[in-house]
Amino acid sequence: MTEAVVPLAPRARAARRLRPVLMEIGYEFLRLARTRAYSLSVIGFPLMFYLLFGTGHRHGPIAQYLIASYSCLALGSACLFGVGLSISFERAQGWLELKWASPMPRLAYLLAKMLSSAAFALIVMAVLIWLGITVGGVTVSLDQAARLAVIMLLGSIPFTALGLLIGLLVPANAGAGLINLIYLPLSFASGFFIPLRMLPHWVQRVAPALPTYHLAQLALAVFGFAPRSGALLHWLVLAGFSLLMFGAAWITFARREA
């Protein structure tokens, strides 16, 4: 028995290649949105903090500062939990293996987790800006909002890379605890909660070694809380960090598979 074969036009073939990628992204977002432990904490914590600390300083620089820094806070936790914890669970349950045996486009798996996590960070950012304008009494221009959004999108890459490595290395039942253990000090030491210059000297000295610091500096520069001149260096550090994490994840994965 031979099957009748109709060769696909290049365009149709491209559409067919893209379809599983888009579906993977859509369903991953849906899955995370329905996972309340995830969506409530990723969205809820930064907004709650903003209502507590941001709106107490109406019209002041703090209300603006915290829009940038809490957006970064949301991005990191969205990616570390959305990529890292998800992968560690799916790996432990054998689901990752079934996906890997399927003809799923390999990159779609990680891309879906990254973009879904970034989408959550963008939602948080948008609500923070809205809260800032309505409750915090600050102005945010369209240009500033757009620049912050781009930083969120690109910034999801290094945290996806770190999440991937955590997901491959850490057992599922230890994942959440470990991510908090890593991420809370990183957020604190990078000025997400309190501006860096108010933190102890040694913290200020350590901060430039942290990826979260460079993300925060980029986001804060949008509102003039950090010099714009350092942007290139911050992007380079984040790119280098991403490569390092992806490389380590690749080695881990390849050793597992052999």
């Binding site: 067919r16 369903y27 432990a92 399927s102 003809p103 052999a258």
Partner: protein, 307 residues
């Protein structure tokens, strides 16, 4: 204008095997999971890979679906390395998955897996065939064990693949659910698919398979039809305390193997009556006599000793 078939469509002549493991060896850590293992899978046939836990069944499946690379030998699906993404489009797999993401519904899981394949079955046809239609809007987390297994089975067949690998598809199912899965597996073979089934239930292999491959410690012990295999393994186990020597016991009619711990003897034989007729007169003090069906584990031992 020359028309070349697109790379994502593979056809194979009917007499060619759909998939093959050729002299495959694979080490996992320090253990030899498979040693010079060969097996061919043909369209329209269910092949059961039967063996005790840790025999290498899952390793064989993982090689076939491209999750592992062989250390030696060749693995081919439709003439290609199954780690190649085009070859994977011809493969459907049901693995031992603890759980799928809880928050997606039955229908969503199936839609997503369908999108990976070039010519999937219709969603409603899949739901209908696997009996999932009434629960298609339920989330995975709310399904019973049997329903979960049926969904995993649906994911294996939704792309209409030429090769379907089922790793212990009925483990943890009750008898009724198991019979349903059996009916689905028969339907797959009837539709011309090559089906590989791993199981440690002799009964399951017997009920479904056209051919059974017995595997033990990574080696192919025997390959044959269920009737051939059953004849080889349908041994009975005779347990007793006796002073008769090993050599004499082994010499009794139809005895295939013997285990001895002091005076305790465990004798495997095809015809226990014939053994006892001769054994009882030899030892008036024989005691604690027990005759029973050999377990599959025992059956393997008899086969391995026989070889």
């Amino acid at each position: 204008m020359s028309v070349t078939p697109p790379a994502d469509v593979l056809t194979v002549a009917p007499e060619e095997p759909v998939a093959a493991l050729q002299e495959v060896s694979k080490r996992l850590g320090k253990t030899a999971a498979l040693t010079r293992f060969s097996l061919q899978l043909r369209g329209g046939e269910v092949t059961a890979l039967l063996g005790p836990n840790g025999a290498g069944k899952t390793t064989a499946v993982r090689l076939l679906i491209g999750l592992l690379a062989p250390d030696q030998g060749r693995v081919e699906v439709l003439g290609r390395d199954p780690r190649n993404s085009t070859a994977r489009m011809a493969i459907g797999a049901m693995l031992q998955v603890a759980r799928a993401p809880d928050m997606l519904t039955v229908r969503e899981h199936i839609e997503l897996f369908r999108s990976y394949y070039p010519r999937p079955l219709e969603t409603t046809a899949i739901l209908d065939r696997t009996g999932l239609l009434p629960i298609m809007h339920r989330r995975f987390g709310t399904l019973s064990g049997g329903q979960k297994q049926r969904l995993l089975f649906a994911l294996a067949i939704c792309g209409d693949p030429r090769l379907v690998c089922l790793d212990e598809p009925t483990v943890g199912l009750d008898i009724q659910a198991r019979r349903q899965v059996w009916a689905h597996i028969r339907a797959l073979a009837a539709a011309g698919k090559a089906v590989l089934l791993t199981t440690h239930y002799l009964e399951e292999a017997d009920a479904l398979a056209h051919r059974i491959a017995l595997i033990e410690r990574g080696r192919l012990v025997r390959l044959g039809t269920p009737t051939e295999i059953k004849r080889a393994v349908a041994a009975r186990r005779i347990r007793c305390r006796t002073q008769v020597s090993d050599a004499v016991l082994r010499g009794l009619p139809t005895v295939t193997s013997l285990e001895r711990h002091g005076e305790d003897a465990v004798i495997f034989a095809h015809d226990p009556q014939a053994v006892l007729r001769q054994l009882l007169p030899l030892d008036a003090a024989l005691s604690d006599l027990e005759v029973g069906a050999a377990s599959l584990e025992d059956a393997f031992l008899t086969l391995i000793h026989a070889d």
